[in-house]
Assembly symmetry: C2
Homo-oligomer: 342 residues x 2
DNA sequence: CTGAAAGCGCTTACAG
DNA sequence: CTGAAAGCGCTTACAG
């Protein structure tokens, strides 16, 4: 940059006050009586010099970085297909920017989970949002023990780490109940991910619950695992299509995985929903443009991000949270991939 | 956090050296002769105390934040549909983490473009990557003039701001040439975005070039504007379908916009590619799962992110770039949304 | 209503 | 081969 950056000293000099006053005024510290006239002079001087406080100076003195880290445990391929993440991200960003926080993004492979702790141990961020927590992550537990503000997007069993999640289990149950209500008895399932992801286990539980309550026998041969990608859905559906008799409906716990499964069905010459009905999960923006448009469970992705950001920031600011975790509702979205009639 | 964070003083004390030496050793400063024995002691002390240098202290002293900002000019709705962004993001992240940089993400609405300059004027980041530059952004020019390291993902006319972009114009031309080569004479187009985005103008230019060189008259009634979303593609295609005679093929400069257009075509009872052929652009991960799978122009999204990150970091480190801008190649991907035969 | 001073935790010439 | 010292630009008790 040209010239020298103006510092708070320059502003103080120009306004004829101390640096203390400059800081007090510019940061809008409440409960300090500073005359209107003085405030005016400070603001004017700052404007005139085009002064912007240096982030690192502020950070060092205050101990706060005003930055939150969004950490995501996923491989690159998984990320590429994550239509959901963007909405969450925007939710986080919006609440963060409202509160004067910045968002740092970090993708981590499973292999080196400890890489993200660096963010926090170097005081680079004031706290982190961990998306897609694994059921067993010792590094995470260590950080939590040390008092690092952490917000889980998802859930972890046997911990008191605060979280924001969606009622995935009841969402799945609703989906499968709907399939049962329109007459299906043989219902397959493809998970959204490996079961070590909490979201995968929850969604599967909902499926099991619905069938069990309806006294329908669980058939393990109709349950396959996806792993976030369309390709995994394609493969899983190929497997399911080998079973006999075929299921009349398949609940796929991820819209993105579902698109691959749909292609497998079409390639085998079957029609949706005539020959086989499909139910998704997530309601990604594209789902209504699938052919046929996908019945699914809407996840409030933006709200999820917003809530996680909001609660993490409150934690950072030292507020006590009323609840350790909150669960957002899902919504049943019926489109043409399932039959309308009862 | 429990206890007090260990500082470099603690390490120095334990290792029996000065803070200078601690800093020199831990940062692997080249060209300083420090005995192996001393180095060992420092490393051991740091390990023992679980010492991690504080980012803000380092930042303040060195003047470098080791962070780059990724700024994206888009509305929320546009972001939600941006399948492309994630791949770019991962590319940027990977090169950044290799070089020890972090990535800060910021989405900005057109309305307040000056919001992103704050990142840089507060020294929060060492430089920024601006994705989706508008053709007229005075704030950007100001930052560039001040010497702020900026890397454009896309291009801006009449500036010498460094950029990384894709050969979009020739990519479009290739796509349309292909359509011409298989016999189409009446070819429509839907842009990916409003023409104030450089990428939109480039892609349209390629379309115009191809038609012109083939001596096909441009028919403005067959050219509609998209704006990143499937919904915009749906609407644009509805318009095109009102024209008579109908085009036999439509080039849609965005796969995401194309999915909406495809739905409009199906709703009108026409078949793809039998009645109308569709050519996309971007090759988003989902494109091969469209029905029919979409012929498109592949954008090297990851490479684009990687190159932008790499070059920005080199700029930040004070290296001279050989070229002010680089252009990556696209690739023709033929699938079933266009007829195979010549 | 406002200021002088200490301190946050590093890096980096400079000196020897 | 290593250290003493200054300085980066803020904030924040403390004092008056």
């Amino acid at each position: 940059m040209s010239a020298r950056r103006p510092t708070s000293v320059d502003v103080a000099l120009l306004a004829g006050v101390s640096r203390t006053t400059v800081s007090l005024v510019l940061n809008h510290i409440p409960k300090v009586n500073i005359s209107e006239a003085t405030r005016k002079r400070v603001f004017e001087a700052a404007r005139q010099l085009n002064y912007h406080p240096d982030a690192s100076g502020r950070k060092l003195a205050s101990g706060k970085s005003k930055t939150i880290g969004l950490v995501r445990l996923q491989s690159s391929e998984q990320v590429f297909n994550d239509a959901f993440l963007l909405q969450v991200l925007v939710g986080i960003e919006q609440v963060a920017s409202q509160r004067g926080f910045h968002v740092l993004l970090k993708h981590i492979n499973h292999s080196n989970t400890n890489e993200y702790s660096q963010l926090v141990t170097e005081n680079f961020v004031d706290g982190i949002i961990l998306s897609g927590p694994l059921q067993n992550d010792p590094e995470l537990m260590r950080l939590h023990q040390e008092g690092v503000p952490i917000m889980l997007l998802g859930q972890m069993a046997n911990t008191d780490i605060p979280f924001v999640d969606v009622k995935a289990e009841s969402g799945s149950e609703t989906a499968v109940n709907h399939l049962i209500s329109i007459g299906h008895k043989r219902i397959g399932m493809i998970t959204n991910a490996k079961l070590e992801y909490s979201s995968a286990q929850q969604r599967k539980n909902g499926y099991i619950n619905a069938l069990t309550k309806a006294n329908i026998q669980i058939d393990d041969r109709l349950i396959k695992e996806g792993d976030f990608t369309p390709a995994s859905g394609f493969l899983a559906m190929k497997e399911i299509l080998k079973s006999s008799p075929l299921p009349s409906a398949v609940f796929i716990a991820s819209d993105v995985v579902a698109i691959g499964a749909i292609q497998a069905i079409k390639q085998s010459g079957l029609r949706i929903p005539r020959d086989i009905e499909i139910f998704g999960f997530d309601d990604v923006p594209m789902a209504q443009y699938y052919d046929p448009p996908l019945s699914t469970i809407r996840l409030p992705a933006f709200d999820l991000g917003w809530a996680a950001g909001d609660r993490l920031i409150r934690l950072i600011l030292g507020e006590k949270l009323d609840l350790n975790g909150i669960l957002l509702d899902t919504e049943l979205i019926l489109r043409e991939s399932t039959s309308q009639a009862v």
